[in-house]
């Protein structure tokens, strides 16, 4: 084995995830060249991350659903319905009770939306898990039902404007946490990561298990911290547009200096929410996640082991409903309006992101992190093509081809590694 390959093996990194990151970087560089240097700018990357957030959030859950050999086609419609519900609650119901711009309006609306999402997920999950109906059919029904329900909430009327605090969840100039907090979040993330790494190594040492070489540990920790801090630096390198700065200065009675005032965006709130979902933790470190994978591998074995597999599947669909609520909140907050068509066809983007991210429809295989990467990859293609000036129909053609290509490469890769493990 050549030294580089040996070193990569020692890091115990998921080679497929590394391959995906490589593909993403290639796409970014290609678009950067094609657009004459417009793609890899703080502004574009910042927008990219905000735009990818809702699909990325839902794709993490979809990956787990797919791992259990199920599917959720209703997620786009659920998002639309929950968006309408949250819109009406904050723009119509709560103002009547509490007055406009009441400080807790945003959290009440969000909480109600998420709770409703869990209820919808529970309803569909119960039909799938306990009555044994195919998830494809149940959620196909859900796709129609919740889209219709979204219309019924206001008889098709758009709800706007939304609560000012709620709107922060959509990102944008105000919906970012600024340079200082962004650095704090970044440093905190690095510290947490390194502590977790050290703790894991210490535990392995205590049980006298084989350890990764120290060089590999340092390499991994270094790369991860560099990536986190790099992302923060990019977010902070995107300054507020001049209009927002002027408004901010007026509101705070600051005279604008001659050279203008540079205020960094920092990490956008939707991105923070996407990172904070902790789906990787759920999938890898909890019993729930362990059962999700095991059900995908052999559901009968899970049941014979005494696990209530039906309850696991039901919980998974409840989680999916919760994620649709979060996705819906971000979507309507960004638009500053709730429309009944919000999220149309989003379920397909979410499934595509999960599949590009390595989830296998045969079950048992996939990761939440891969699904998020898949979402970023698809969003990169889309915004890259917009920047290059590709027509919309052609954009769809390209995304479709990439989806199939990703699965093809994955299948070939799997076939090859399987053959190697047989030898």
């Amino acid at each position: 084995m050549p030294p580089l390959a040996r070193f990569l093996k020692a890091t115990e990194l998921d080679t497929r995830l590394v391959g995906m990151i490589g593909a993403l970087l290639l796409i970014w560089i290609a678009f950067h060249i094609l657009t004459g240097g417009l793609f890899l700018t703080p502004r574009n990357l910042w927008n990219l991350s905000v735009q990818a957030a809702p699909v990325a959030i839902m794709a993490t859950g979809m990956a787990l659903v797919i791992i259990t050999r199920n599917i959720d086609l209703s997620i786009g419609s659920t998002l639309g319905f929950l968006g309408m519900a949250m819109g009406v609650i904050q723009a119509d119901l709560l103002p009547k009770l509490l007055g406009f711009e009441y400080p807790a309006t945003w959290v009440l609306a969000l909480g109600a939306g998420l709770a409703l999402g869990v209820v919808i997920g529970a309803l569909q999950g119960a039909l799938i898990a306990y009555l044994g109906l195919p998830s494809f059919i149940v959620t196909l029904g859900g796709l129609l039902v919740w889209r219709g329900a979204a219309w019924w909430v206001t008889s098709g009327q758009t709800v706007a404007p939304l609560d000012a605090r709620f709107r922060l969840m959509g990102g944008g100039t105000e919906g970012s946490i600024g340079a200082g907090w962004s650095w704090a979040v970044g440093v905190l993330a690095c510290v947490a990561l390194l502590l977790a790494q050290a703790h894991a190594r210490h535990r392995r040492q205590k049980f006298r298990f084989p350890l990764r070489p120290m060089a590999a540990e340092i390499f991994l920790g270094g790369i991860a911290c560099l990536a986190i801090l790099g992302a923060v630096a990019v977010a902070n390198a995107y300054p507020w547009p001049i209009g927002s700065v002027r408004r901010y200065a007026e509101a705070n009675h600051i005279t604008l200096p001659a050279g203008g005032l540079v205020i960094a965006h920092g990490i956008a709130v939707p991105v923070l929410m996407a990172i904070g979902i902790g789906m990787t933790f759920l999938a890898n470190r909890t019993r729930f996640g362990r059962y999700v994978y095991a059900i995908g591998g052999n559901r009968e074995a899970v049941e014979l082991a005494g696990v209530d597999a039906r309850w696991v599947v039901m919980k998974l669909f409840m989680l999916m409903g919760l994620l649709a609520g979060i996705g819906g909140a971000i979507s309507i907050a960004r638009l500053n309006a709730a429309t009944n068509s919000e999220g149309t066809l989003t379920e397909l983007l979410v499934i595509a992101a999960a599949v590009i991210g390595g989830s296998s429809l045969a079950g048992g295989v996939g990761t939440a992190a891969g699904a998020m990467l898949g979402a970023v990859l698809m969003q990169s293609l889309q915004s890259g093509m917009v920047l290059v000036g590709v027509d919309t129909p052609l954009q769809n053609i390209v995304v479709g081809i990439v989806l199939v290509l990703a699965v093809l490469i994955d299948t070939l890769y799997r076939r090859r590694t399987r053959r190697i493990s047989w030898q």
């Binding site: 392995r204 049980f207 095991a294 591998g297 049941e303 005494g306 696990v307």
Partner: protein
């Protein structure tokens, strides 16, 4: 085995019946098992052996009949209930989740957790290394999904899972089907060791030599019914084959509902 007659049986299944649609998979089967005893269940494919023991394991729910554990009525409606009574099962299909690793399979449904409630993978791997080391000293692929293991290694994982949790009653459905001669001998040693520790074992096997080698008693099933039960020391292999093929009980056997009345017997 005079001792077993005086004591209360560890397991007592009485008049167990189960039909799948119109098919009577098990009909009024009664069988018992004492502590420190190995009872072999033999018969053709489809004779109802696996179905009968899956009722004990909680994988199937019986239509009628009773199960008593140590003399007390046992309420076994699912695999979790069975495990609660100390019943562990090695299924013929092994019942492993192929896409997760050895430790995850061993602890499936009974994961060790840290004080924060998260999975304690390292502690589980440590115990997995310990128990696998006893069964299969050369086993080293703890990081691979079970799918990547050989048939014998997979079987070791299934056996390890059954003995990891201090089973009182062990059900082994064809435990040596995928094993080579050396590994089969190892399983034989293990059965004797567990028996000496006072564990009761139901053994389903197609290998009549294994059965005579390991079992104290042999119970023969045919067409869902029990032909008869006999002490291994009181019969020859030919007599047992006669029970399996023709359903004829030798004089030493206690006949069951499936026995064909032989000439010269009441």
């Amino acid at each position: 085995m005079a001792m077993s007659d005086a004591t209360i049986p560890l397991v007592e299944m009485r008049d167990i019946s189960l039909s799948f649609g119109g098919l009577r998979a098990v009909e009024r089967a009664s069988i018992d098992l004492h502590a420190g005893e190995v009872v072999a269940l033999v018969g053709h494919n489809g004779a109802g052996k696996s179905t009968l023991i899956k009722i004990l394991s909680g994988a199937y729910l019986r239509d009628s009949g009773s199960i008593r554990i140590r003399g007390a009525e046992a309420d076994i409606a699912n695999p979790r209930d069975a495990k609660h009574y100390g019943i562990e099962t090695i299924y013929q299909t092994l019942a492993l989740a192929d896409n997760i690793d050895t430790a995850a399979n061993l602890f499936l449904g009974r994961e060790l957790r840290t004080k924060w409630g998260t999975l304690d993978d390292i502690a589980m791997e440590s115990e997995a290394r310990e128990v696998m080391g006893r069964l299969n000293p050369y086993f080293a692929r703890f990081k691979d999904p079970v799918k990547a293991l050989s048939g014998g290694q997979r079987q070791s994982v299934a056996i390890a899972r059954a003995i990891l949790f201090n089973a009182q009653i062990l059900v082994m459905d064809e435990p040596t089907a995928a094993l080579g001669p050396q590994e089969t001998a190892q399983v034989g040693d293990l059965v004797r060791q567990l028996k000496a520790a006072g564990i009761g074992i139901f053994l389903i096997s197609h290998d009549i030599h294994d059965v005579f080698d390991l079992a104290d008693r042999i119970c023969v099933m045919k067409n869902g019914r029990i032909v008869g039960t006999v002490r291994t020391n009181d019969v020859t292999t030919d007599e047992v084959l006669g029970m399996i093929i023709a359903g004829i009980c030798p004089p030493a056997a206690i006949p069951g509902p499936g026995a064909v009345a032989a000439a010269g017997r009441p």
